[in-house]
């Protein structure tokens, strides 16, 4: 499927090549490295090159699909914390009730962080928040198999901004039906 997709794109690209008259022909496509002929005293440079110049582009856009329920779905967290605060008890209860009422219902709990620090450490912090919410839901009767804790770390902020107000809105877990 993916290969077919690529071939299709390549065909489109070839067909539309003529339209791009300003394209210099000598650099229109990835070209493999060629082995150069070496003379003189060279030891390090030149010589045999394994064709590693080529880069084949892949496109996976258009695969996103998130469904949120009509239930309240966001839990916010304090800085550097993964404690589900009492004020979000109604969010947890409403979703736990939906999950216990319909055992076929599945939800992903997506943890998020503010954008300070590394992608990977924030991914782990977001995971911890998501797992805390999953635990709260299972304590109220939801089955662990109905839930998956995942994290987007700092990659998908709810709001942009380099201030505490923005950061506070980004430190969250979102419940999405799957």
């Amino acid at each position: 499927m993916k290969t077919l997709h690529r071939h299709l794109l390549a065909a489109i690209a070839a067909a539309s090549l003529a339209a791009c008259s300003s394209v210099p022909l000598d650099s229109q496509a990835p070209v493999e490295s060629r082995t150069g002929t070496t003379s003189g005293t060279g030891a390090g440079a030149g010589g045999a090159s394994s064709s590693q110049t080529r880069v084949a582009p892949v496109d996976v856009t258009g695969t996103s699909n998130v469904n949120f329920t009509n239930l309240p779905r966001i839990v916010y967290f304090d800085f550097d914390s993964y404690v589900v605060k009492d004020q979000y008890r109604p969010v947890i209860e409403a979703n736990a009730k939906a999950l216990t009422t319909n055992r076929k219902m599945h939800m992903a709990v997506e943890g998020h962080t503010d954008d300070r620090g590394s992608s990977e450490y924030n991914l782990a912090l977001g995971q911890r928040r998501a797992e805390a919410v999953v635990k709260s839901l299972t304590l109220l009767g939801a089955d662990p198999t109905q839930l998956e804790a995942v994290s987007f770390g700092k990659e998908r902020p709810a709001v942009q901004g380099e201030n505490e107000e923005a950061w506070a809105k980004n430190r969250r877990a979102e419940l999405a039906s799957r």
Partner: protein, 445 residues
């Protein structure tokens, strides 16, 4: 299918920054260029230049007939050498001579050049170019060697980088990294793109376009594959992607999050962070996704693994002590020992190829700053090497002499290279996209 293609379109030869790159969402030509891996014109420019104690003054004159190509090999070589921090470029103006010339060495000595490079570019009957050069030792008045390479026009830049590598190795005794590649992620609007570029930032090509985030690219030791984390399945999944063919496979797609890939030096396995058993924990997994083995068990976050080049150690970030610090353990697992002690928040370890220097990001107040720590000296203190406050994701060049990292400037995430003493820095600028998650590829192109 409405947004096939990328936002990266090179506008004109010689355009100098990502500012010229436009978003051409529905343009057929834009799509074509992105699909064909059209180079994004951008180059690391030296912007913070200190005076190194050991900078060697070198003169690189214009190569004969280089203006008959669409590249300037001598300018590429000069920029490479300057960025390395090991050289000071002696201005040569419009002077031009080739490898067969007999330059007036005394005159160059008078201009305080210790080394001199001349060369030529000749178009061959088959359309290729023969690029030649010679390197002179001005102090001794002797020749240090030269080469001739016949290359396609599209490989002229690479040929120039190889000449810079030759010069660097002859004059410093160490291998140059100018012909290596880097990978990084650009983010603009809803578009995330994994790119591969030459080490100078030029010749950028698209490896992956996605509408979802991509993080943590890691080159396989042979430079042919990239492991990375993609969120295209609405969660973090680790993929391995063959750059030349675009073939890709999910190697870690377990329940929960799958992230932080790090290759073993033999390229057979990867360390990854998995949450499939709860928490974020370190596992080892085969390069095709088989045989996951747990490396450590802690009630804390363990992530951002990186193997030492000798394969003996696994460095990683853990908050097992209450706040994130860098630890290491034997590569196969076992007891961990803490590596960083200065500061309350240390993340993102990168290890030099000789295993003697650790680069990482330390938090100081609200600033996240790149530091280097000498592991070979007991009691050594981490040395800050930037004055920026949002440094991320350091990665060593394969000769261990430069680091690439991301930081924030003018509201954008940009890529920087720096020498380990922080004195020579170069920036890959961007006006239209955030540039993130840089990683330096191995030798071997």
């Amino acid at each position: 299918m409405d947004d096939v293609g990328g936002e990266m379109t090179r506008m004109a030869p010689g355009s100098s920054s990502l500012s010229q790159i436009r978003f051409s969402r529905r343009s057929a030509c834009g799509a074509l260029l992105a699909l064909a891996g059209w180079p994004a014109a951008a180059q690391f420019r030296v912007e913070i230049s200190g005076v190194g104690a050991t900078q060697l003054p070198i003169a690189v004159v214009r190569f004969r007939d280089e203006d008959k190509t669409n590249q300037s090999p001598s300018a590429i070589i000069r920029a490479d050498l300057e960025r390395s921090g090991a050289f000071r470029i002696v201005d040569t103006g419009s002077t031009s001579f080739d490898e067969a010339s007999r330059p007036d060495i005394a005159q160059w000595r008078g201009r305080a050049a210790d080394a001199l490079v001349g060369g030529s570019v000749t178009r061959l009957a088959d359309g290729r170019y023969d690029i030649r050069f010679k390197l002179w030792d001005v102090v001794k008045g002797s020749e240090l060697g030269g080469q001739s390479n016949a290359v396609e026009a599209s490989e002229l830049r690479l040929a120039a980088h190889r000449i810079a590598d030759f010069i660097y190795e002859k004059l410093t005794g160490e291998k140059g990294v100018f012909s290596t590649r880097i990978a990084y992620v650009t983010h603009s609007g809803q578009r995330y793109t994994l790119r591969v570029a030459d080490a100078d930032g030029e010749n950028g090509q698209v490896a992956l376009n996605s509408g979802q985030p991509i993080i943590s690219p890691a080159w396989s030791p042979n430079g042919k594959e990239l492991a990375y984390v993609s969120f295209e399945r609405q969660k973090a999944v680790v993929f391995v992607h063959t750059v030349a063919t675009g073939e890709r496979r999910a190697i870690a797609d377990f329940r929960g999050s799958n992230s932080a890939p790090a290759w073993t030096p033999d390229g057979e396995r990867l360390a990854v962070t998995l949450s499939r058993e709860g928490g974020s924990q370190l596992f080892s997994i085969g390069r095709n996704g088989g045989d996951p083995r747990r490396l450590a068990s802690s009630p804390a976050i363990d992530t951002e693994a990186e193997y030492s080049a000798d394969g003996k150690w696994l460095y990683f970030t853990s908050d097992r002590g209450g706040a994130p610090q860098i630890y290491r353990m034997a590569a196969g697992g076992g007891n961990a020992e803490r590596v960083t002690f200065s500061g309350g928040y240390n993340i993102s370890p990168a290890l030099s190829p000789d295993g003697k220097t650790l680069a990482y990001v330390t938090r100081s107040g609200n600033a996240f700053r790149l530091v280097v720590l000498d592991l070979a000296t007991t009691g050594a203190q981490p040395q800050p090497i930037t004055d920026t406050s949002d440094d991320e994701h350091p990665s060593f060049a394969p000769n261990g002499r430069l680091l690439i990292y991301a930081t924030r400037a003018n509201g954008r995430s940009v890529l920087m290279t720096t020498t380990l003493d922080g004195k020579i820095k170069a920036r890959l600028p961007s006006q239209t996209a955030d540039l993130r998650e840089p990683v330096w590829g191995p030798y071997g192109r």
